[in-house]
Symmetry: C2
Subunit: 349 residues, 2 copies
Amino acid sequence: MENRKGYHVAVVGATGAVGEKMLSTLERRNFPISKLTLLSSERSAGKKITFKGEEHIVQAAKPESFEGVDVALFSAGGAVSKQLAPEAAKRGAIVIDNTSAFRMDPEVPLVVPEVNDADLHQHKGIIANPNCSTIQMVVALEPIRKAFGLKKVIVSTYQAVSGAGAMAIKEMLDQTQAVLNEEPFTPEILPCGSDKKHYQIAFNAIPQIDKFQENGFTFEEMKMINETKKIMHMPHLQVAATCVRIPVVYGHSESVYIEVEKDGVSVQDIKDVLSGAEGVVLEDKPEEQIYPMAINAAGKLETFVGRIRKDLDNDKGFHMWIVSDNLLKGAAWNSVQIAERLISLGILK
Amino acid sequence: MENRKGYHVAVVGATGAVGEKMLSTLERRNFPISKLTLLSSERSAGKKITFKGEEHIVQAAKPESFEGVDVALFSAGGAVSKQLAPEAAKRGAIVIDNTSAFRMDPEVPLVVPEVNDADLHQHKGIIANPNCSTIQMVVALEPIRKAFGLKKVIVSTYQAVSGAGAMAIKEMLDQTQAVLNEEPFTPEILPCGSDKKHYQIAFNAIPQIDKFQENGFTFEEMKMINETKKIMHMPHLQVAATCVRIPVVYGHSESVYIEVEKDGVSVQDIKDVLSGAEGVVLEDKPEEQIYPMAINAAGKLETFVGRIRKDLDNDKGFHMWIVSDNLLKGAAWNSVQIAERLISLGILK
């Protein structure tokens, strides 16, 4: 294998909340880049972005933009991915797509490197990055599954507004200031930009993320349910989710109840397994008030797990609290980590 | 029975967050009061409070304060209740105690009027008002239990800072402004005033309410577990709770998973039962984005229920979202409602 100096990397959606984090993560990880192509919609084309001290001009993405590209990180919405990801793949790029466009496509691997990096070998040009709230949960659950089996998962989320994009962050901060000043304001984005009604997020909790499906679950909830089964290769795993937006900027928190298969597992057994697990940081000392919190996870790459307790009625039941930066492990870092893994597994040569 | 014009009511802790709401609820309900005695700690004694246009001076609470009192509403902390509630009862008052001091005492009824008002007949001078997060949950669960039986409850809470008192509200609002201004601040109260470490609540989620027990659950979580069993008269009900503080001022939200006993229950069956239930307002039209939210529940007396879905794996499993004003139904209103019920049941004559 030729030892390459670097790869031609394209970032699609470079000016968005996740795109920005992708660039800073590529910098932070010192990802081997020989050429960087920054792409966006027509609207954002022409903007200038500095990467490693060098100025780049963002170009409008089109099929030809991907000529010669080795890896294309997509995060510009599902419609852009559906149109341009196949074009990029056709031109020889490996696409790592952060949208939901291809996640449930049986031909497309849906990958969290700590869980199922072997699936990368099956790629046909496109690899999907899972939903933010799913990623951090499976990072914590996979080591438990490996050791003790996993039968059931019930999760309630406490999700940060950054998951709805840069404009949603601005809406929440402006709205919060308006509430503090007792000034009027009009919600325009949250809970879901493309849905009809918009509600106050400042000092509130909104039990809607993405639109509703016929079955009463939201798309976000169904993503957590379906993606978890696909990533963990457990079509029969019982998963239920309630997804809630709360006034936090960065960092999703999750209250998770699980049932393992094995008898007689202790809290210490779970802690032992998690404390050595890739990508997991155990923060669980209730006697010292140590547990994961969104403000501490913000800016970090790991998934933080704490508040691990055995259910008081079910010997196989456990409760825990899982927190991670939704824009990093939940999006940008998982994408860059997939790219790194493609290199270390010899898939990207 | 003599038709009385009114009762001598004492409010202990009249200057606190809950005490204030007790007074406004007594006003709002036009509770029949012949004499009002406002009591507090030595520290707050001398303060003036206007009730129905009349000024009252708050007095330091002592055993003799309860001479001639018919109903005493206590909300000045567990230590005050432990000391003075028996003194009030000894003097013939019926105590309705909002602290946790007597809740699990087998001699003391723990009452949510919609659920177990018959227990009021067993009182021996003291009646306990349950924990805020417990009350709203059992209001929603009791009609379901009656119709379909109830086997299991798993709840994750999204609790407002007002549950930690007036100073906690101020801390959160000041802290939020400091974060927006990028100014420094020092957390001093939350998550729990009497615990060692204090954390930022602004734009954060803290998975600790009250202190930790040996078993890894917090006292708040154990309150939800134990009080639910006592109020519903179901010692063998399986209940698990994860209690979380979020940056909301008024209104606790709860993501609740339940399993009923009966086969073949539909979401519509649950809705039918709840829409006619005392104290419950069904807010559940996902197709119109109608679901309960803390900011809408604030200031209301009812418990709001929505997002009712059948579990995708368990035919007896249901998910729902329960919201209520933690200072009203969760504290002041439930206490005043108990007093009203004591009259309508002929217990308070």
